[in-house]
């Protein structure tokens, strides 16, 4: 919480008294219900992590935590030795990595081009259209994408060939998912870079122009370094979420043929945890994702610091 206002200093730290509570009774009534809500819906699930160390099945779920059988790290061992775990991990990492690289590169590229566009009306229209798909749900996107990508779909018709985009049990599906995601999000993701570009001192461009730098040189030596901090911050945050490939997108876009390459950790946790009623197992995978995420975030943050970039934390 960096945002602090001047008003804050005007208030001296108050001592607890019932008189004060009575004075602030309206404020209490307006916030306590939501704090209770917060504890139930946001903190109780964290407490649910204890299930990762227990053998919890539908039958034993009703028991209190002390009555359930503690199994230590058995759920984790079972998860890591599962024959599906390794392929799922590869899918998660590859989908995530492809998305991170292609998503970031295309968003930065689009933002740079928008920044270079000198016909302002045309620029605005293009930008407005570009983030429309961001507001459309994944179900709709999947419905459209399948019509385009399936055999005999629009893309096959356009290229008059059989691309087998959705019918080959191969890593091609990683690329397909990434491409659909980039199509959906590139305009939206570009906004943050575009606002970073708008913050660059225009005097730098003028000076470079006087020194005879052409447009590409100005982009390379002024625009890109100018958004380096923004890129670093977004990278650090994305690296923390590298194992969190959402199951919604994977589930909606995949079909039985490509499923082997669509299965990601969160989906795996769901199918085993809820589908097979092995709550402990599912929770263990979820917890593994979160803990690895936090560790990666800290490492990325540290590396950014060592490279002389602004740190996030």
């Amino acid at each position: 919480m960096k945002a602090k206002t001047k008003n804050e200093e005007n208030y001296v730290k108050q001592k607890f008294s019932w008189k004060l509570m009575w004075k602030q009774r309206y404020l209490l009534c307006m916030s306590v219900p939501f704090v209770i809500w917060l504890i139930i819906f946001r903190y109780l699930p964290l407490w649910g992590w204890t299930m990762a160390f227990q053998d919890v099945k539908p039958k034993s779920f009703g028991l209190s935590i002390w009555e359930r059988e503690f199994v230590g790290f058995a759920n984790f061992a079972k998860a890591f030795s599962d024959h599906m775990f390794f392929p799922t991990m590869i899918n998660t990492l590859c989908t995530s990595f492809l998305g991170l690289v292609l998503g970031t590169v295309s968003a930065i590229f689009f933002a740079l081009m928008l920044n270079e566009m000198r016909f302002l009306k045309f620029k605005k229209v293009t930008q407005t259209i570009s983030y429309l798909p961001h507001f459309v749900s994944w179900v709709i996107i999947a419905s459209i994408a399948k019509m385009f990508l399936n055999d005999g779909g629009v893309l096959d018709t356009i290229f008059n060939t059989k691309l087998h985009l959705m019918s080959s049990n191969s890593p091609l599906f990683w690329v397909v998912v990434t491409a659909v995601n980039v199509w959906k999000e590139v305009g939206w993701d570009a906004i943050i870079y575009l606002s970073a570009l708008a913050g660059i001192d225009q005097g730098l461009y003028e000076a470079a122009k006087v020194d005879g730098a052409n447009r590409f040189q100005r982009m390379w030596h002024i625009s890109l370094p100018g958004i380096k901090t923004t890129v670093t911050v977004i990278m650090i945050m994305s690296i923390g979420g590298i194992l969190n490939v959402g199951m919604e997108r994977q589930m909606l876009l995949s079909n039985a043929i490509v499923k082997d390459h669509a299965m990601v950790l969160s989906w795996f946790a769901y199918t085993r945890g809820i589908g097979n009623n092995d709550y402990g197992f599912g929770t263990a995978i979820g917890m593994f994702q979160s803990v690895v995420g936090i560790i990666l975030l800290l490492i990325a943050n540290k590396i950014a610091g060592l490279l002389g970039e602004r740190k996030l934390i």
Binding site: S31, V35, L38, F119, S137, V139, I140, G152, G286
Partner: protein, 296 residues
């Protein structure tokens, strides 16, 4: 700040033309699929089988939409989508604004503690399985309308957004109201809420889009309270069920067995509200997300 724009007398270079071509490419690739879907939904289903690549209906018909709204029992899901969007957005905005106001009051005794409690949840969450069990087993909310409203009632990010906005406006109005003897609730309702209209509009629009688009909560918790999104999913799945991964003819397998035209009509019905509110979204969201990025 000077904008990078074409000034009088400046030459239009080759690079400008390349940019124009690149932008046209972006526009076409974004718009074309939607036009294609619209055209198929308005085209004769049998004619569509011939070739799916067109953006002007070849044999115009409204039969697909008639089918969607009569035989397919889509009326209930449609109303459900509307109900959850309206109720969810209204309750969400009111509750979020209330919390935001309280957390903007630095003189509130629990300000620091409550703020911290909310902020922490932005960084750590219990994950899918514990949440699923909490909602379905502990709270027994499956197939109840409340499951669309309560679990996502207050958004922490939105609280920060509204709070920063309140902190940005002067508090002298509040002080004035206090002298007149208004209590904190009245101050919130009569003074803070009207001032916050722009940020409330942003939060409401984002909330409404999120509610309308939401699919996973229906899939996980409330399949009996089907929404448009879930109906669309079901119609896509009904094609999949027949798939045998070891089928001899792999082409037959991925070709959609379901009536494509009906699917496209539902797709349009589910997309239309988004396109309708899009100009308003447009107006508000840029300010919204840049503010969030700076303040957080």
């Amino acid at each position: 700040m000077k904008k990078n724009r074409l000034h009088k007398g400046q030459r239009v270079t080759a690079f400008d033309y390349i940019l124009i071509i690149y932008f046209l490419f972006i526009i076409v690739t974004t718009i074309y699929p939607f036009l294609n879907v619209l055209a198929i939904s308005l085209n004769d289903p049998i004619d569509t089988m011939r070739n799916v690549n067109f953006i002007i209906p070849r044999k115009f018909t409204l039969a697909n939409y008639q089918y969607v709204f009569s035989k397919n029992n889509l009326l209930f899901p449609f109303l459900m989508s509307i109900a959850r969007t309206v109720v969810g957005t209204v309750t969400g905005v009111i509750c979020t604004a209330m919390v935001a106001y309280v957390l903007s009051r630095k003189d509130f005794y629990f300000n620091k503690l409550f703020t911290l409690l909310f902020i922490i949840t932005m960084y750590v969450g219990g994950g899918l399985i514990p949440e699923y069990l909490l909602i379905t087993r502990t709270l027994d909310m499956s197939n109840k309308f409340s499951v669309y409203i309560i679990p996502g009632l207050v958004g922490v990010f939105n609280i920060i957004l509204i709070r920063s906005y309140i902190e940005g406006v002067s508090i002298s109005l509040q002080e004035a109201a206090k002298i007149d003897g208004a209590n904190d609730f009245i101050i919130w309702l009569k003074i803070i809420m009207p001032i916050c209209k722009p940020v409330i509009a942003t939060v409401a629009l984002f909330g409404a889009v999120g509610q309308w688009n939401s699919f996973m909560d229906t899939y996980l918790y409330a399949r009996n309270l089907s929404t448009l999104q879930y109906e669309l999913y079901k119609i896509m799945e009904s094609a999949k069920i027949k798939i045998d991964p070891h089928a001899a003819n792999i082409e037959q397998v991925t070709r959609s067995v379901s009536p494509l035209s009906v699917r496209m009509a539902i797709t349009i019905v589910a997309t239309a509200p988004i396109v309708i509110v899009y100009p308003f979204l447009q107006k508000y969201f840029i300010g919204g997300i840049t503010l969030g990025a700076v303040k957080d």
